[in-house]
């Protein structure tokens, strides 16, 4: 038994020496692993939205619909500038080439409190005015992005299709006729371009700040007076600017 213990101790000692002999005399400097942007991600964002909307012609709508056709002379355009909070989520996937160029696609959706109002006088009914109110409450987009990765920092630009969910209301009271409340909704397709910087602060998480410019062109929206049931068109054009920041949780392709 005693021989066995000694043999085992000897074996352990020899083994230990062998392991020690394999160790380098000086520790090699650690090689930092580059962040790999290839994979998919999901996250949330928060920011501010600032829109500019030109509405033509609310005066014509109210006067020629409710007073009499031909009441309005000239064309009136009002320009409410809605602003508000933008809050939403996004999912996307990226691929990083060996050259550090990153391409990807992202779907994002935002709810928004953007709201703006303007008061416009009604010359056809002296002393009366109309309150023009515009809301944008929905702002999804589907974009492609291209960027260049400086390790865990990605500078990128994006562009693609976007949609704005808009609500319009023109309300007030006409002397001798009574109250009116024209309402209309529109889903407007357009395009978006933007850019930002995405910083991967851990293996799974990144934070970003981004600026986006949305352009939705010009179109007509049919508005209906909720009291009389009469309807008419107004034309509107709009663009929206959004500044937002957010975080993404990255999911890696299996095997990477």
């Amino acid at each position: 038994m005693k021989k066995l213990i000694v043999a085992n101790l000897l074996a352990l000692t020899l083994a230990g020496q062998a392991i020690a002999a394999d160790l380098p005399t000086q520790a090699a400097p650690p090689i930092a692993q580059r962040f790999n942007w290839t994979g998919c991600y999901a996250g949330m964002h928060l920011g501010g939205g600032f829109a500019n909307k030109n509405i033509t012609d609310p005066v014509f709508l109210v006067q020629d619909t409710l007073i009499a056709p031909g009441t309005t002379t000239g064309v009136t355009t009002v320009s409410p500038q809605p602003s508000g909070v933008v809050l939403g989520a996004q999912i996307g996937c990226d691929y990083e080439f060996a050259s550090s160029v990153v391409i990807g696609v992202e779907g994002a959706v935002s709810g928004s409190t953007m709201r703006g109002t303007r008061v416009v006088g009604l010359p056809g009914s002296p002393g009366d005015s109309a309150l023009v109110q515009v809301n944008t409450d929905f702002l999804p987009s589907l974009t492609a992005r291209i960027g260049y990765a400086f390790d865990n920092v990605l500078l990128y630009a994006r562009g693609g299709a976007a949609l704005a969910g808009d609500q319009f209301e023109i309300s007030g009271t006409l002397t001798g006729i009574g109250p009116y409340d024209f309402r209309g909704l529109d889903n407007r397709f357009g395009w978006v371009v933007g850019g930002g910087v995405d910083w991967a602060f851990s293996r799974d998480w990144s934070a970003f700040v981004e600026y986006d410019y949305y352009q939705f062109g010009s179109t007509n929206v049919l508005m209906t007076d909720q009291i009389s049931g009469l309807s008419g068109l107004v034309n509107y054009s709009q663009h929206v600017q959004v500044v937002k920041g957010g975080v993404n949780f990255h999911v890696w392709w299996p095997g990477l």
């Binding site: 998919c40 209309g184 909704l185 909720q226």
Partner: protein
């Protein structure tokens, strides 16, 4: 006629029907026969119910892969397809190799599939339910009682399983009790007073799939083609409308009138073909196009064409994107889905006219949905959290012109937030709670006016839904398996607002006790 007679018999014997539900429940509880969800799936896979379902028809991660692979997974005690079908097992083995899901499912013994007997993958289910609403329902209710109705409906038969090693189907045919649907009726002069196109037998949820696997570099693909008859019936997650909670509902209780188009407005009225892929078991992508079936085809399949709001003018595109990362026992899904449809409403659906003409103008609906699901598999339990939101933009060119709608454009939103806990393997108890909210634009012509204020009503309805369900067989295989399964549920729905008003909303609160039998 025979169905009506049977229904009246049940109605007269209301207490007997309740007793029947109780008897079935007791038999189920004390029976020793184990079971699975759709027994034909169980016979094919050799797996117990709990492998694919947390609470049927709610799917586990493996259940979703089974569906993804086109219902073709074999390994059960019976031959997988009527043809030489060892290849079906090879497909599954390949998929397990790709995904590592073999760890969660016992590998089938290496038996030559062709030496087994083939049994057609046919199943059936029946739901017997007792419904009580807080207040009696207004007349006329005949042949129903004003309250406390027991109805055996629906009864369905299924083809559920593989056809070849790459093609499988879930195809349902349903019998609806004529007492629970508005069947055809005629005046004393023989003139029809309701649609003569309502049938008791109708085709129901159907999803036929082809699926395969491929490998390109570091990307693993499961790809497939789906042909189905209900947008979202092909979806893998229980956050989308076709397979969303509640899984069984009373056919006689009042329910909110408004719903988005994607929430079943065209179920069984359309045919759709689409392509899908799951990349690296992480990213699911699908595009499907839907078109309404011709009037005569719908009628031949037992579907009342007038049950849909009209005919689709063009092919309606449906899309689905879902990201499903999973780690350890956790599975998360974040996704979006939606559909664009141009609906030409029926011009005149008064029964006496039988006009199958539709308006040349179309109402256009853009449905955009977002959903998420988190699932945790404990040692002997499942926790599932689900959420979905659908925003529908309606451009009502036709309905506005015909004055069916007051507004030219409307919004309709649908939100569901749900939590579910499934406790136990066998003798599984499932507790589910859901908050639901439907809200949108007020429209006097679509939703009517408030009798007190005269203002246009909204489509708004909201409330809570709770359910406790008992599933006797979740994980075991013993004598009788795999031919039978059951689910006993007690459901309560509370309405805070119903069809735009809080006045008498609680009158519609519903208790639904039901026994769901599958065999």
């Amino acid at each position: 006629m025979r169905g009506q007679y049977f229904y009246r018999l049940l109605q007269r014997c209301g207490f007997a029907a309740i007793a029947l539900v109780g008897l079935v429940a007791l038999l189920t509880i004390f029976s020793t026969s184990p079971a699975t969800a759709l027994p034909s799936f169980a016979r094919q896979t050799g797996q117990p119910c709990g492998t694919c379902h947390t609470d049927f028809p709610a799917l586990t991660p493996f259940g979703r892969r089974f569906k993804l692979m086109g219902y073709t997974t074999g390994g059960g005690p019976y031959r997988t397809t009527p043809f030489s079908s060892n290849a079906a097992r090879d497909v599954q083995a390949e998929y397990n190799r790709l995904l590592g899901y073999a760890e969660t499912v016992k590998a089938p013994p290496p038996v030559d599939d062709n030496s087994k007997t083939w049994v057609p993958p046919i199943s059936a289910m029946a739901i017997v339910g007792f419904t009580h609403t807080q207040a009696d329902q207004p007349s006329p209710q005949d042949p129903l009682n004003p309250n406390n109705n027991s109805v055996y409906s629906p009864f369905s038969m299924f083809w559920g399983g593989a056809i070849t090693s790459n093609i499988g189907a879930f195809a349902q045919v349903t019998y609806n009790n004529p007492g629970s649907v508005a069947g055809p009726s005629f005046s004393s002069t023989g003139q029809p007073t309701s649609s003569p196109f309502v049938h008791t037998w109708t085709w129901d949820n159907t999803d036929v799939r082809f699926a395969g696997t491929a490998n390109i570099g570091w990307l693993d693909f499961v790809y497939g083609i789906t042909a189905n008859n209900n947008p979202t019936v092909q979806d893998l997650w229980n956050t989308t409308p076709a397979w969303g909670f509640p899984y069984a509902v009373s056919t006689v209780a009042p329910t909110p009138a408004a719903g988005t188009v994607i929430e079943g407005a065209f179920a069984a009225h359309v045919g759709g073909v689409g392509a899908y892929t799951m990349i690296n078991d992480l990213l699911y992508l699908e595009v499907t196009g839907y078109k309404t079936l011709p009037f005569s085809a719908q009628n031949a399949l037992g579907t009342d064409p007038f049950g849909a709001p009209g005919l689709l003018g063009n092919v309606s595109p449906y899309w689905r994107i879902a990201l499903e990362p999973h780690w350890g026992r956790n599975t998360l899904m974040i996704g979006t889905f939606g559909m664009y449809s141009e609906v030409h409403p029926w011009l005149n659906i008064a029964p006496i006219n039988f006009s199958t003409a539709v308006d040349t103008l179309a109402d256009k609906f853009t449905d955009i949905g977002f959903d998420s699901q988190y699932q945790y598999q404990g040692d002997n339990y499942w926790i599932t959290l689900r959420g979905s939101y659908i925003r529908e933009f309606q451009r009502l060119d036709s309905s506005f012109a015909s004055m069916a709608a007051f507004n030219p454009t409307n919004l309709l939103n649908s939100l569901k937030l749900q939590a579910s806990v499934a406790l136990g393997a066998d003798n599984r108890l499932v507790l589910t709670g859901q908050y639901f909210n439907v809200w949108g634009t007020a429209d006097a012509n679509l939703y009517g006016t408030d009798p007190l204020t005269g203002l246009a009503l909204t489509p708004n309805s909201n409330g809570f839904m709770t359910e406790i369900a008992y599933i006797p067989y979740g994980a075991s295989k013993s004598f009788g398996w795999p031919w039978f399964n059951a689910r006993i549920g007690l459901q309560y729905i509370y309405y805070n607002k119903f069809n735009g008003t809080t006045v008498a909303a609680q009158d519609n609160n519903t208790v639904f006790l039901h026994a769901w039998l599958a065999f």
